[in-house]
């Protein structure tokens, strides 16, 4: 389990990095934290000709407030997400979700930009981005553009990012800081989620005026659940079970050795129930079958 041969590039600026991307062709991978890429290299699931290491690139490691939300640099680590005060105050959902990623040593190196560009359908960040009405900033040699999270994740490890583009930052909205929920099913601490559910709500006068319910682990990409969002919107006094049932009936997850499709639907119910209840601030009901 050793990485295959590749050519290594260590740019120091975003400009240099995107020029390398433009120049080197399709078999190039970008190394950010490496906590997904290097296992793939070791297992030889990835065989790139070139690796562009962002470790020495300036300006990708900042968290800044903008438009009531946050701009998070692509090289901000999971650990920074977990400990940064601005994240904690403006996007507490993101802070909370960060703690579920891998182990401390993984969080020390893994980055939000790397995770989003990798687009593992079971990963936490893509679901969090959807729940927090996030947007991805992509930079190429030609342009910089923003893509809404809703449009970014296309399929298994596939996104709207072109091969010549780099994820340079992620915008997370701040309006969900009071009512949010996150729950995921892990067999063991640090395992990839079988199902993860992120919920962002805006509640005004005891009524949910905006709701976003995003799930990881139910399809080849993270998905919002419009039916559940609709069920959640309105004057609620704690309808977690109802929303969870709607979510459960909205997906046909693919089964694998970690759980059958039917079982995953049960997990969708359980985790949606918990995340919605957390977002609404109500107690979790203890009886499963709604």
């Amino acid at each position: 389990m050793k990485p295959p041969k590749f050519a290594y590039h260590a740019p120091t600026t975003v400009r240099e990095a995107v020029e390398l991307l433009a120049e080197l062709g399709d078999d190039v991978v970008v190394l950010s934290g490496g906590q997904s890429l290097i296992p793939m290299l070791n297992l030889r699931l990835a065989n790139p000709t070139d690796v562009i290491d962002l470790g020495g690139v300036d300006g990708l490691g900042d968290v800044a407030a903008r438009d009531g939300g946050l701009d998070v640099g692509a090289m901000v680590t999971h650990r920074q997400m977990e400990t940064n005060d601005l994240i904690a105050s403006t996007a507490p959902l993101a802070q909370h979700a960060a703690g579920f990623i891998g182990y401390r040593a993984i969080r020390n190196r893994g980055t939000i930009g790397g995770s989003i560009a990798h687009a593992d359908p079971a990963a936490e960040w893509p679901a969090v981005v959807l729940a927090l009405d996030g947007a991805i900033t992509l930079t190429s040699a030609e342009e910089t553009r923003n893509v809404a999270g809703d449009d970014f994740f296309e399929s298994l490890f596939t996104t709207a990012k072109r091969p010549d583009e780099l994820v340079t930052s992620v915008h997370l909205a701040g309006r969900f800081q009071d009512n949010w929920g996150f729950s995921e099913f892990q067999r063991r601490t640090g395992d990839f989620a079988a199902v993860a559910v992120a919920v962002g709500c805006v509640i005004t006068d005891s009524s949910v005026v905006e709701a976003r319910v995003a799930l990881a682990g139910v399809a080849e990409r993270p998905l919002r659940c419009p039916a559940a969002e609709q069920a959640l919107t309105g004057p609620h006094t704690g309808g977690a079970a109802e929303v969870a049932a709607v979510a459960r009936d909205s997906f046909e997850p693919v089964g694998d050795s970690h759980g059958s499709s039917e079982y995953r639907k049960r997990l969708v119910f359980a985790e949606t129930h918990r995340a919605v209840a957390q977002a609404l601030g109500s107690d979790i009901e203890s009886i499963a079958n709604a």
């Binding site: 389990m1 050793k2 990485p3 295959p4 041969k5 590749f6 050519a7 290594y8 260590a10 190394l31 490496g34 906590q35 290097i38 296992p39 290299l41 070791n42 297992l43 690796v51 290491d53 470790g55 650990r79 891998g102 182990y103 401390r104 040593a105 993984i106 020390n108 190196r109 063991r188 601490t189 640090g190």
Partner: protein, 161 residues
Amino acid sequence: MREITVTINGKPTSATVSPRLLLSDFLRQDIGLTGTHVGCEHGYCGSCTVHVDGASTRSCLTLAVQVAGRAVDTVESLAPDGEALHPIQQAFQDCHGLQCGFCTPGLLMSVAELAGTNPECGRAEIREHLAGNICRCTGYHQIVDAVERALVALREAQVDG
């Protein structure tokens, strides 16, 4: 091949490495620090844990070229040869926190990080922090005993010092 300079256990070291060389293999084979153990090479077992700029890092999920200009500390840094064991190591011996010893160096480095960032934590937090270090021998109970004891010893040393 690339030239790198890394500070390893406090000592600046220059080497020429292939870009694909894993930090774990660099430390073990090029530098001769075999205390860092390789158990899975996909980031799950934690045996290869070292510190990079003070933060715990999987050396099997890090390329040697990525640590150019950085400081890497391995288990061999805890107690220099000829000196007494580090309080964490001593607690592991006192509490029987190791058996075959293979996962131990990685665990010690994870505990060293915990001692720096959350020195007052209790058993549940210790377990949470160390969940990424698999031990197949001990059943963990005596490791948690050892970490509790080490954290107390380090706090007392700080007060005394």
